[in-house]
Symmetry: C2
Subunit: 106 residues, 2 copies
């Protein structure tokens, strides 16, 4: 793979990889229904706040979400809503895989 092609795919993969974690995907899903601050997300997720903050930082770094400090809280929201399109496709992969498994079981 040529270096510039490699770099392009690395940049793309970095963004996709950011969503490739259960907690971060949950965050994206949650933010699709409106902004939330770290506290709220931490409560919904049930992990240490520092862990949630790190996941948020990663999503923000790649440009999927953005943050806005309001007083002592930091609110996050989706920067690019099209990432929600991933969900439907992923569900279809899961569904088809399940169907294939059923066929094998017959």
């Amino acid at each position: 793979m040529e270096p510039n092609v490699q770099a392009r795919f690395a940049a793309r993969a970095k963004i996709i990889k950011a969503m490739g974690h259960p907690t971060r995907l949950f965050i994206v899903d949650t933010l699709s229904r409106g902004e939330a601050n770290v506290q709220e997300l931490t409560k919904a997720i049930g992990a240490d706040m520092s862990t949630v903050s790190r996941h948020l930082g990663l999503l923000k770094e790649v440009g999927i979400i953005r943050s806005e400090r309001r007083g002592s809280q930091v609110y996050y929201r989706l920067q690019i809503p099209c990432v929600l399109n991933f969900f439907d496709c992923v569900e279809s992969v899961i569904k088809l895989t399940a169907e294939e498994q059923l066929k094998l079981a017959e």
Copy 2:
């Protein structure tokens, strides 16, 4: 996060994560233009064939691609074309991030 919700997001994230690697994303992109065997992909990627085979195995395991042996070769193809939708969205994330960077530089 409740256990069943956690499991759902874990299953989804696993599929997205499979695409979150430069080589695997390249493979998906390549296969979108038609099937290819391990040899051809290995040549295009420039890594060890064993490495490519492992990437293919992972993509196959999560249901994004499927394989078909024909003689001594194994051909791979996209199982779910909708994964290509990811590319446009990812590009828009990259583009917007670049624009934000430009603004900061002013």
